[in-house]
Assembly symmetry: C2
Homo-oligomer: 406 residues x 2
Amino acid sequence: MNTHYKKLQSSYLFSKIGKKVGDFQAANPDQRVIKLGIGDVTHALSESILSAFHKGVDDQGSDESFHGYGPEQGYAFLRDKIAEYDYRRNGCDISPDEIFVSDGAKCDTGNIQELFSQDISIGVPDPVYPVYVDTNVMAGRTGEFVDGRYEGLHYLEGNESNGFVPSPPDQHIDLIYLCFPNNPTGTVATREQLAEWVAYARREKSLILFDAAYVEFIRDESIPKSIYEIPGAREVAVEFRSYSKTAGFTGTRCAYTVIPSECMVYDEDGSPHSLKDLWLRRQSTKFNGVSYPVQKAAEAIYTEKGRQEVRALSDYYLENAKLIRNKMTGLGFTVYGGENSPYVWVKAGESSWELFDELLEKAAVVTTPGAGFGSCGEGFIRISSFNHRDQVEEALERIADAFASR
Amino acid sequence: MNTHYKKLQSSYLFSKIGKKVGDFQAANPDQRVIKLGIGDVTHALSESILSAFHKGVDDQGSDESFHGYGPEQGYAFLRDKIAEYDYRRNGCDISPDEIFVSDGAKCDTGNIQELFSQDISIGVPDPVYPVYVDTNVMAGRTGEFVDGRYEGLHYLEGNESNGFVPSPPDQHIDLIYLCFPNNPTGTVATREQLAEWVAYARREKSLILFDAAYVEFIRDESIPKSIYEIPGAREVAVEFRSYSKTAGFTGTRCAYTVIPSECMVYDEDGSPHSLKDLWLRRQSTKFNGVSYPVQKAAEAIYTEKGRQEVRALSDYYLENAKLIRNKMTGLGFTVYGGENSPYVWVKAGESSWELFDELLEKAAVVTTPGAGFGSCGEGFIRISSFNHRDQVEEALERIADAFASR
């Protein structure tokens, strides 16, 4: 067996939450639990997307319009739209052949480490989405888990003093994971902060893996929506995007990864190799493309009507986030995120799990303990805005009642 | 970079074929090329599947029936049916929790090697589907490519004298890839032959990765449809299946992998670890499950009507295979496969690429050169039965004309 798997911490965050919620529900069968924990959307696919999805299924129903194996990189009809609407209209020079359609940003951010050598140095934010860390543990790029951290990783600390946006370190790191708008803190990086990272990566010949799964929630015009808005990023950055949160695709599955042609990795002699070519080879060998009707559904996001619908969906969740921010602030909590992000990051004033337990027991509301995202997440909880308005409002009332009596 | 990628042979089989076909078409713009090369289905999804697919899309259209993130292992509604219809009714004791639904057998057969240590010994058939070899090359489990083979792999030779079914070797091998009905040779393994492999794996504490993507084409009652028909296989075998060829899902994407609870891998101390648990951890970390409407579509395969439709589809392709077999035999070729398989394996009497070129130039028919599947494939071509009857018939007439005049 691959014994690196033995280093993985078995109590995965969401399993532990699930168990606590199950226990609470068993002890309180009359209480209706409201979930503001996991970042899963709750709203139906929009009209344009649904209609294109059905049309795609219809195409599979007659021999003339049937689609068998598609291109591993994704259909051109979708990649063309992505290049145009998500990049060129936003001033980023990205071409369709630099885009790879996939069934999830989780797969892509998890699989891309295969392209790198075993002995690279890796920087991961703390707190962070666990997939970046776990996939490198599985690949053997870390030591054991000691005192809450894996040996051999560089943790880029996010805390209140830096607004949860770590700066580039003094030493050299080969590979850097960044995620903005951030999961779990809901914070965003300014143009200047991203420019600092791009400058670092260019100077150090490092590579940035930029997870932009939540980009649709950015409303502040001054915040970059893509790392490619920073001059020079094409040489040093890969960007991951997903339709999961933006268009409600968590159960429908479609995402994409951008690797510019100038992005290079280096072999033992220091000779450059195209990262895009390596990823194409990886995907052609281990992946067979995304379901054709799903790609047709995703294409509809880029129609005028589709864009409006998707915007309305993120507006809705952002309004939820605002309600959460305001209520928690009003109750005296210090709050981050939730303005260009669906996540609100709340300072607990006690341990993460203590506030989690308190909210569950007193208000029957499920959140996510920040400690589950890394050491620097201790003392915080993440509240997700992905739910129906009436549920969010009821949850907030219950929390207000519980904390007024505290 | 992961420099093992540099060992990969760049001229991937199907790209080379694509280039030759493109060149031929450019030089002969009036000739209509018929493709009996790649193993891609050509028939529409059947009625029951389509209808369930639409219903699944409809579910995504209202908040009440909307499905967000599903279980990484696949929905129970599908895994229950697989266990019942594909296994229990066939006398195999497989439970739903041993089944992992995925978006393709290519992904699963490609990804599973991550669970094993770097220094295992690996046996791969020759000729063989290139994914087994290439994914191990990428992972660094081989040496360089020398004289048509990767150093460090054990090639299990299939040839006319063993009917393209290799026997277990004399020495120890940790991990063995087998594929029956075979791609590319179209041959099947008898119960006795599979029993020999299971006995070997039990004796040697080896693991068999059994690719059964073409099982739906087996008509001979004496041929096992699953490795789990062999007593003792639960401890030593993983089975991969796919709806791609059976139900026309190459563009729709759904497959599954079976890992019985008794299947163990061993750490450096020789302690056993559950392979199923490792795979679940891998999938939970790097995969987000198959699109919900696609799983609904796959479920319909197991209704009475769905089973009939799928059977009719494979009957159709098998009839094509029979026509190909008979015509090629009649033209004096020695022919294998094509009886419980959609692939016909034809002895060239010259080199693989020579016969490929001859068929393309004289008959405008595309096949697949056996040499592309390994050294032992040299001297053969694979003819696929995945096409419309009239296309197959026309292709065979053209071949007959071309070879009558030779």
